[in-house]
Subunit: 439 residues, 2 copies
Amino acid sequence: MTAEIIAVGTELLLGDILNTNAQFLARELAALGISVYYQTVVGDNPARLEGVVRQARARSDLLVFTGGLGPTEDDLTKQTVARAYGDGLRLDEEELEKIRAFFARWGRTMPENNRRQAYVPVRGRKIVNNNGTAPGMIFEDADVPGHYAVLLPGPPQENQPMFLDSVRPWLQSLSRRALHSVNLRVMGIGESHLQEKVGPLLTHENPTAALYAKTAEVVIRLTAGADTDAQAQALCQAYAKRFYDILGDHIYAEGEDGLEFAVVHALAGRGKTVATAESCTGGLVSGRITAVPGSSEVFGYGLCTYANEAKERLLGVPAQMIAAHGVVSAPVAAAMARGVRRLAGADIGLGITGIAGPGGGSAQKPVGLVYLAAADEHHTWVEQLLVSRRPRQSVRNIAAQHGLELIRRTALGLPQPLAQCFGPEGPVVYRQAGTPQDV
Amino acid sequence: MTAEIIAVGTELLLGDILNTNAQFLARELAALGISVYYQTVVGDNPARLEGVVRQARARSDLLVFTGGLGPTEDDLTKQTVARAYGDGLRLDEEELEKIRAFFARWGRTMPENNRRQAYVPVRGRKIVNNNGTAPGMIFEDADVPGHYAVLLPGPPQENQPMFLDSVRPWLQSLSRRALHSVNLRVMGIGESHLQEKVGPLLTHENPTAALYAKTAEVVIRLTAGADTDAQAQALCQAYAKRFYDILGDHIYAEGEDGLEFAVVHALAGRGKTVATAESCTGGLVSGRITAVPGSSEVFGYGLCTYANEAKERLLGVPAQMIAAHGVVSAPVAAAMARGVRRLAGADIGLGITGIAGPGGGSAQKPVGLVYLAAADEHHTWVEQLLVSRRPRQSVRNIAAQHGLELIRRTALGLPQPLAQCFGPEGPVVYRQAGTPQDV
């Protein structure tokens, strides 16, 4: 099956937004074994849109459209595709009621514009939108049965769940080859280093394996094809084992969920709690932990002690320690971790202090220098991180990711390859020398 | 001038990488007043590539290609475009020398593959690549003078500087029309409501105006064309005034920076400080405030009091208040705001408590119900927000955005259309009735 992805939207043509849907859909279609030969972006000009639809229909078995279904847009995309595929549109009372109810809940009357969203294919089928008012739809070509056009809304938070929940299962039912994918999430080994370690495993035919670098982590995606789901899954599992043999506990999870999920899971599994004290990350770690449903089981206190005074008053970091070592230092990170642990009565305390930039750096303590510490009842682990030549937000995000990994390894009692160990309360003198870390 | 952007690359078709070049080039071309009607992604299949080039050449004045010039690729893109535009390719000794020198610097011999990169147009011109080995190039159509194809390398760190340094000045020299754009950032009025308010202003020819919905805010983009920069700017300014007349202080800023920048700016301008106490948003507000360089001037304390105990112990929220009203209630939000204000000795305190979901909702207090409060020395403002049928992260992000707006309006002493006002310390009894807010 060959496909093309067509995005309808002036915002894309003007460069106001990134076409993240195209990447998402391309990856998903590839994982289903569907070859995407073209991606197109076109505006909502009738003639140009019609030209694109006509051409794509003639050369591909499946067209996946995104955008052009919003309430402020006319229904050009729908009408054009319906006409090309020999179908019509009908008002769907159920959808209309859903839209009306949506507005009623806000005490408002549905604007006349939104009525258009309730039109669905006569012969084709609608796809329920659980995250917005515009339904998606599937048209089958009247002249060429087995050729389809799928219309999805543009906002990624509507588009992507709709594809995963409804379109993917439908496409799988069309094809007879079973496919299975596994994402191995790797923390603490940079992309190039990882490439060296697992390079030979990346040129395999079935399963395939590919690396995707994310913020301070790398995802390894394995995809296997077989006659049955169970066979494809078994192929993936067997191949995944070869990665586990090399990477061990650097693989923190499988799937889509980020490190914060693994952290909450690790803590909950051991019946432990964590409290955070953040300076340069300003609440990014607590924000990520609390993004996990149910995180209140393991997390009750997060302090963003941005001012020195806050570190002293709330966490008990001694003023003379800040004066002697500087606020961005290993002893202060350790004192923050120990202080918040005590304050909250938590099993583990995390402290982060650093220079996110763009200002505030010096020759001795450059922008991008961050100290992280995790304290439990027995140890204080301190990590020195240097994120060179990255903007403020990257420094903060990378530091938050390392903070989460420190919590995870402390909760699980894993070795801490990036951190030095100190006693529970004793002095912390961090050696600045050594190999810079691979973020 | 009309243009289209054509990316050549299998990685894009497989979804392995995001097409960030397309956004970059689209935005740059739009800023030059060049209309981009299509964006295409195609692989390096000869027939498909040739088809795309033929079609694009027939319908657009300018084609901008990215990718397909790397050392591991054949020179298909170059050859196909040269043929279509009636030009040839010649070996450029200077480029060849540059590539040889590049390898020599690493103690290596140039692979024979890289020789291909030294071929440049016979009639057209090459563009020097300061960040890689592959030169870019410009072909002029032999049949239609004034029509061009520009080839740029794919890696963004080569593509984008080459466009800015060489292609943009060349395009500017071709066109004489100046363009200016202004983004008006609007908070507190939802997209459809805004559409009703400013609808007639959106159908103007010059400047044009368009709405872009973001997370709990909308951006209005004005673009004017004129003979000079100053004239285009004046057109934008005059037209912007018409939006200010209707929307007033709901326009919180112009430009690219989000609401957290306006908040830090508002506080710094009045010499005020803020402290935050967050429950359901878990540090998202402190995370955004501290994303602004220099925010330490206005922000020293942020507390993520996720547990009830933390709200009681650190903020002084009475346990009996939580028992009587529930932790997600107007009185608790107000007590959090007042408590963190006192604790930090700040001018303004912000409190947020809500149910982000997916669990924890009830008929009386559904998922998506959030109370926000801002306290200064004279008033406590309490806002009730209901974010229906959105996933946990959306509820949290929308709540954080509303929290920032509460701070901004309190700092500037603006009316608070979404919030009710109470005395500085007195009881807070929030009427649940009334028009739900338009997020």
